[in-house]
Symmetry: C2
Subunit: 228 residues, 2 copies
Amino acid sequence: MEVLVPFSADRPKSRLADALSPSERATFARTMLADVLAAIDRAGGDPHVLATDEFDPSDGPVAGGPSPPVTVDDRPLTDAVNAVLAERRPGGEGDPLAVVMADLALATPAAFDRLFAGHAGGDGRDRSGAPDVSIVPGRGGGTNALVVSHPRFRVDYHGASYLDHRRIADEVGATVRTVDSHRLATDVDERSDLAELLIHGDGAAAAWLREAGFSLDADGGRVGVVRE
Amino acid sequence: MEVLVPFSADRPKSRLADALSPSERATFARTMLADVLAAIDRAGGDPHVLATDEFDPSDGPVAGGPSPPVTVDDRPLTDAVNAVLAERRPGGEGDPLAVVMADLALATPAAFDRLFAGHAGGDGRDRSGAPDVSIVPGRGGGTNALVVSHPRFRVDYHGASYLDHRRIADEVGATVRTVDSHRLATDVDERSDLAELLIHGDGAAAAWLREAGFSLDADGGRVGVVRE
């Protein structure tokens, strides 16, 4: 299955400004992308980076991972993804298409297996009983990953996009399955998300974070992070 | 499967003090408990409330739900749960025992099905290849639900208990499976968790919250809540 991975190459991870410097944020974002691409690859997906700016995935902080094709589109995320959906017509003439955020650093092949299941019908036509759209809600109402097998479904990533995507699916008559995964619900956006990565991550991004001096801070209710 | 549901009957949900009054917190906690008990029941589990104080589950804000047995134990959570584990010896002489937090208001029967799967071996002995302990990590490193099929496993709910429970399982030679669920990872503890309940909940607790005037606030990054 083709898996589109939107990536902000120019101004990544601004909401981590209280934890990391601009150059650290750029490196960290590239490292998370490498982890996501590797997990997609190991789950049998074919990643395809949709970047806001030119960059070379093989010239990143992690050596030896997948080196997928990159398409540059500097429009806002929603427009860029919808352009691909309009061109590919997944579930119509085209195969199913997945869209996976680049900051799902807790993602594992097993989690992606659960997301891709039921959509892997080859030509997108032999799928009786399968959902037209699978959605992984992110924490806070976002949409962290999608699989689209319906030619008229479109995305709208603004605001509480999980609820919008359910509504849009309804409007075009597409059936929806929600995939219940803490790993895929956790996009690493804010300082508190770093704790999740230190607890559950075993990829390059978690290693980079530990190397940068972060560790768990178990005082108080939920565990946070401290930097030495 | 017997499912132990610890419930703080005396001072519930203190970390929601910035959103709800003390009497509202008590009602909200009872309503979440009713939702959790109903989901366990519909997944085929037999709930058993482990309360810090006397109370009558049938005299709650939600009518018509399961009315499980209640055991009162005013010791700290860890001691009270370990006393039951020592008595029942799940996976030894006893059947598997689940421990599920009372504030998992996003829980569904399907999510509990995934948790209970592999442990439902009747007498706890015919379980070749099944895990000895299944753990659902909560956000921030907690342990939101467990199934124990090993007579020497004990809990320690202090701090980053998910990592502690993995270590304890290692020490007693118990195999561990982690269950990846956003619904079960979301314990409703803090104001930001209320947004998850409004987005995903369809039980009595979500209805109570809407009735109390809460709605989603989609300004900014992740969606929060406002109260009218």
